[in-house]
Symmetry: C2
């Protein structure tokens, strides 16, 4: 069987995750990694690096481009550019801008006859799928999404701007007792701050007033003042040893009612040691789907809502029915 | 907007669940309930009951038939019969026979130009979807399926055959400590009996030897002897008050590895106060999908693996992208 030829655009944490995920999928091969940096600087011998400007030369040689840039500035430019030449998968996650992003990519991909699945990953992505599924099955009910335990980049940046702070990292932590109440059948009205704690690990500069730093952090508006926030002071060595990972995860729970007040609860959860490696693995599965749907003649923009799960698997429909149904 | 016209075949717990679920979905209307009993006996005035033998008269008047019979003898006969005239949804759950059932229904539905989604519900159904999804995303990993806490009909029947037992019910209960080990990242090799406890609630006949009953139950081969089994003796009133519900649920967990040994865990869980009402709600969502796919010209047999989630929802693709992605 011919392998699915994949290109990666962008070589940060997510791009490296995709590179690793492709190795776990024997029906795929990595053709080249496209970057805005000097390709020579990245060359490892094992993989081909190319400057993003020569991507056009790969038309017909790559079945799916997996776009690993950020949603703020990279993807709004790169997805439309690539969709005019290749099938693509991205993880565009600026929720408010998804409708216009979809329309733009859809128009370009229809024109080029290519297929783009936008906004894959886990939120948007797997969490979105579970929100849709649970609402469709239980029309009467309440949805809850919890995030974490995981690093929030924005909150970590906010900590680092506090005077006297040398380094720091912030974890968003779902409140376990609230999750247990929902699992037990309660449907409380909850603001995001009631569902999550904020836990900060801070390296203070030598001689800095730790109590003043703590006060500045916990009283910071928008970021921390509305939350139950804990600040731990640690050494630089501890930060390196214990806080370099990129764990994340969360829960989507729908608590609904059928018949005359019968409680039914659907829950989906992720516990991830590496957010970018997991997101990358989701994207690679959707790259397989994109390739198949494109071969079947589909074009334009799609989302995870439009992709049957059978297209995500390397197994045949017969195998899936026999082994997994 | 014209409503989706639904027929129900079979009026046991599942059929009654579908009747209730249709009321929660304003885009659907119940046309008639088909039964092998005398329709007059069931008539409530609110809903039309018909004998199953007149189903043919409803050709063109019903968009989707939801088949609520059992997998042992009803569905092997009713799904092929109905698929030759109507779009259908069923919850055929004899795992080993799914491939041949699929082939048979596929041939008939292709011939009639109708669409049949077989084996919906939650296992097979939502659990199958999650097994597929998690394997596609994490090719290296271990799968676990836990069932319960829920009533096992076969084990309850086995209890009732024990001399001196007047009535009884058996719950299959997942072992919480094992689930916690898996959530914590362990990937133990486990037999079904290591993942589940069996909890029995028994009403003894007057003067019966309770200790002898307990011994007979816990040492019963295949059913109980390999399991950690608890027997509680209760009164008939307690049985009626506390054990008439049909709760069920369970968990599908995949513990996988990305990159160089990075642990990633995907979990899906259900906690259901009524197994038949929940299964019915899943079937009704798939009936919506069947109607849409049929309108688009698809025919033959399909499974949950073939249905994009967008088809399950009454919302438009634009609404789904804006509200749920």
């Amino acid at each position: 069987m011919e392998k699915i030829k994949v290109g990666i655009v962008g070589y940060g944490n997510l791009g490296r995750g995709v590179e690793k995920a492709i190795k776990q999928n024997p029906d795929m091969e990595l053709v080249a990694i496209f970057t805005r940096r000097e390709p020579e600087q990245l060359a490892t011998g094992e993989v081909k690096f190319e400057h993003i400007s020569v991507a056009e030369q790969y038309k017909g040689k790559i079945d799916v481009m997996i776009l690993c840039g950020g949603s703020a500035t990279d993807l709004p430019e790169q997805t439309p550019f690539m969709a005019s030449m290749f099938n693509t998968v991205d993880s565009f996650d600026t929720h408010a801008k998804i409708p216009e992003f979809f329309d733009q990519v859809n128009a370009l991909a229809k024109q080029s006859g290519k297929l783009s699945v936008i906004s894959t990953g886990w939120d948007p992505g797997l969490f979105s799928l579970n929100r849709l599924l649970a609402q469709a099955i239980l029309p009467e009910g309440t949805d809850y999404t919890f995030w974490g335990k995981g690093v929030s980049q924005g909150h970590s940046d906010a900590i680092r701007r506090v005077p006297g702070v040398k380094a720091g990292v912030q974890y968003t932590v779902p409140v376990q007792s609230v999750i247990e109440r929902i699992r037990a059948g309660e449907t409380p009205d909850l603001a995001t701050r009631e569902k999550h704690l904020r836990e900060c690990f801070v390296v203070a500069e030598e001689g800095a007033d730790q109590e003043a730093i703590r006060q500045t952090i916990v009283s910071m508006p928008n970021y921390f003042s509305d939350y139950d926030t804990t600040v731990h002071f640690i050494t630089e060595d501890q930060l390196k040893a214990e806080h370099q990972g990129m764990p994340h995860g969360g829960f989507v729970i729908r608590s609904g009612i059928t018949g005359e007040g019968t409680k039914q609860i659907i829950e989906f959860g992720l516990k991830l040691e590496s957010n970018p490696e997991f997101t990358a693995s989701v994207m690679v599965a959707y790259a397989r789907a994109v390739n198949r749907m494109s071969i079947e003649g589909l074009s334009g923009a799609k989302t995870v809502f439009d992709v049957p799960f059978s297209y995500l698997s390397p197994k045949s429909p017969e195998e899936l029915r026999r082994e997994l149904l």
